[in-house]
Amino acid sequence: MGIIRKALTSKPVASLTSPFTVDHYLEQIHPMLAAENVRARVVEVRRETGAASTVVMRPNGAWKGFVPGQHVQFGVEVNGKRRVRVFSVSSSKAAKKGTFSVSVKAHPDGYVSQFLHQELEPGTIVYLSQAEGEFVLPREVPASLLLVSGGSGITPVMSMLRTLRDTRHSGQVTFLHYARSREDEMFTSELDEIAATTDFRVVRVYTRQPEPGAALAGRFIVDHLKHLGVDPAGTLTFACGPAGLIAGVRDTYAELGAADQLRMEYFKVPSVDLDAADATGMLSFDDSKMEAFNSGATILEQAETAGLKPDFGCRMGVCNTCAIKKNSGAVRHVVSGEVSASTDETIKICVQVPIGDVNVAL
């Protein structure tokens, strides 16, 4: 398959199919058939908790695999519209050949995560990117390792933990996870099993409903590390979770002079307040790493005020020259007043005004 794929993506073939790619033709034969576009068929959808699911998928041959800790762009099509979100891979690298999984906690207003949790059926074809992200286990795993996670931040470190178990890693591994309660925790039985059958230290702290007799309680503090006998300066640490937990871990490591041992990944839910008065929140320009207070003008005007030079044409929503990706947040159309809050959609910035926090690819 490798040679065929190489031939199909080669320059001579591209010049025969130009301006299209060979995938434009292959997908007409079968949606999973592609030289470059990663697609996967859903094999199984497993409910982890009342609000979290694991999706097991079999990717097509274009998938180049993942390193534990990476995430993938995951797209599903509902009513003709593709919705894309980024989810962490949760399965072990050494798992059954040909499949991998992502695990997702359903947010109350998260369209895709709700869809995954409630409606996604095995057999559905999903649209993926290659695995991406720098938050990964090194090729040579050091003798001492700490994995810290909070809530649904468990998924990338779960992939690491499962991989370490399956490769019979012999070093010292401490797994420290914060969940609200045992019911709220993903992978509970598997974590119990790993705790019982391996030498890894698996410690879970339930912040709202602590287990009777638990040694650790509450949110992350430096004493938790001391109690576990972890020396931050000599322990490679991966931390993933909500911004609050990450800030705590980062400050602790900075104070102890161990910042170089810490790898972090965090998520933040942007504030979307549809009822807010006109101009609230921040407008973030993702590609140029800039932010500005939402002034209530159109995104195009605000970008120009911030010194950016986005492409534009008619400035009245006709010509599509200024169309760009809105990564997250809600916008209001200046003509129709229509509010659109779905993430990752293309908008014409000359006729859209941000409502609350908005992030655009500019």
């Binding site: 001579p12 010049s15 025969l16 130009s18 301006p19 299209f20 995938d23 434009h24 033709y25 007409q28 797209g75 099509e77 009513n79 003709g80 519209k81 593709r82 919705r83 894309v84 006109d278 101009a279 002034s295 209530g296 003008a297 159109t298 005007e301 534009f312 044409g313 008619c314 400035r315 009245m316 929503g317 006709v318 010509c319 599509n320 020259t321 169309a323 760009i324 209001r332 200046v334 003509v335 129709s336 007043g337 229509e338 990752d344 959609e345 293309t346 014409k348 000359c350 006729v351 005004v353």
Partner: protein, 440 residues
């Protein structure tokens, strides 16, 4: 004073992109305006023959409602439709390429040419043109994303989109702004100045018809704009570079790579096999050129289609913008397969009113538009292809003759004097508007 200074600053910047008025946070539901006259607040005069300003505003709101109704209804069936057309395109292209590899069996060979031409027409019209308008951006599929799509046409997508989506669709049929009125080649409207080259209106149009995709590419390079100092050298060179890159790719594919593959047929068929394949590719492209030329000329150049002066359109409202689109386009009637092959641009009026809603919705939208046309007693130009084509040909022939009115002749002393007077008037106005700044 501050307002005046801003007005002056705007004039001095000579912003040819027609800025919309800045809107305050609380007013951002107001419709943007297109053409602004920085020196005057007087509303545009377009449409006053038909209705009052209040009616024009109402007309704009009614069309906005139609537009929103369609947008709210977009979904699976629209996605299925465009994917079906794309499937049809790919199937026609592959079968066509196989067919032209059978020059030893002429029915297959001819069918191959026709299928290849159909594929190119589908990609040119229903897929390329419509996708690049952003009609399917809502689907969020990178393969049919308006910003990324590149079509099987000599003209590079980026420069075509600038000239078509922005300039032509915003400043539709405004003299001096819409470069698509006669494509700088033909005199197709009474109000265009006559030059000697227009004597060849008809033969030139015939030649352009055969090589239309090359004409579109050349139009997008904007050599004339560069020579008149309206675009910068960097802009022009970028356009040239993109055009050459696209020409290389298209020419290599259609006229070199595929014919060279035909060398494999030489032992079985004869030395002429690659030439037959080359000829088939040329024929398919010419068929596409003729078809797209006819549809586009018939959508804009029949006699009854109206054009506008820049002064008439300055400070126009949304309703007036809509009306200009309606009066500046013409429909071609026909059956469903015909509409598909035109990319539903046979509904040119609806396309100009709503360039970014999926074209398969135009027949449905046309019903609403016709009701409004009736309500306000407007003109709705529609007719069979033969009728519209006849009108275009007559226009080209008639307007190619030298007019008797010297003011309609571009190079006459009278026209030159008029242009000079206009330039001086503009300079005087600018001077006048500067004066208060100097005294303050």
């Amino acid at each position: 004073m501050a307002a005046l200074t801003t007005a002056i600053a705007r004039t001095l910047k000579k912003n040819k992109n027609a800025p919309i008025k800045p809107r305050s946070a609380s007013r951002h539901n107001a419709a943007p305006l297109t053409l602004i006259n920085p020196l005057s607040e007087t509303p545009a005069t377009i449409g006053l023959d038909y209705m009052t300003y209040e009616q024009l505003d109402e007309f704009g709101r009614e069309l906005d409602t139609v537009r929103q109704r369609v947008l709210d209804d977009l979904g699976q069936k629209d996605a299925d439709y465009i994917r079906r057309i794309i499937r049809l395109h790919k199937a026609a292209e592959v079968l066509g390429r196989i067919g032209v590899f059978m020059p030893f069996f002429w029915p297959a060979f001819v069918a191959g040419i026709v299928l290849l031409a159909v594929a190119k027409i589908l990609d040119n019209m229903e897929i390329g043109h419509n996708v690049m308008h952003g009609q399917y951006d809502w689907m969020n599929d990178p393969m049919i994303d308006g910003a990324r799509y590149e079509w099987d046409n000599i003209a590079p997508a980026q420069d075509w989109k600038h000239g078509h989506n922005y300039i032509h669709h915003t400043y539709t049929n405004i003299h001096g702004m819409d470069r698509d009125i006669g494509y700088n080649m033909f005199r197709i409207d009474e109000d265009q100045p006559w030059y000697a080259t227009h004597r060849f209106n008809l033969p030139l149009a015939f030649v352009l018809m055969l090589v239309f995709e090359w004409g579109i590419m050349y139009h997008g390079v904007e050599l004339d704009q560069y020579l008149h100092g309206k675009i910068t050298k960097e802009d022009f060179q970028g356009r040239k570079k993109r055009a050459f890159r696209k020409i290389r790719k298209q020419v290599f594919k259609d006229y070199i790579a595929w014919p060279v593959l035909g060398l494999a047929l030489v032992p079985f068929v004869g030395w002429w096999a690659p030439l037959a394949i080359l000829g088939a590719n040329v024929a398919a492209n010419v068929i596409r050129n003729v078809w797209t030329f006819l549809i586009i000329f018939c959508g804009h150049f029949p006699a009854e289609v109206q054009t506008f002066a820049e002064e008439d359109a300055q400070n126009e409202s949304r309703g007036q913008w809509y009306l200009r689109q309606l009066l500046g386009s013409a429909n071609i009637s026909g059956h469903t397969p015909f509409h598909v092959m035109t990319g539903n641009l046979s509904f040119q009026i609806e396309h100009h009113l709503f360039p970014d809603i999926p074209a398969r919705r135009y027949p449905e939208v046309a019903e609403d538009v016709k009701l409004l046309v009736e309500k306000y007693g407007l003109q709705y130009n529609s007719g069979r292809l033969s009728k519209q084509l006849g009108s275009v040909v007559r226009q080209l022939a008639k307007l190619g003759h030298k007019p008797s009115d010297p003011y309609k002749i571009g190079n006459s002393p009278e026209s030159k004097a008029l242009r000079r007077a206009k330039r001086e008037e503009a300079a005087r106005r600018l001077e006048e508007s500067r004066a208060p700044q100097l005294t303050s």
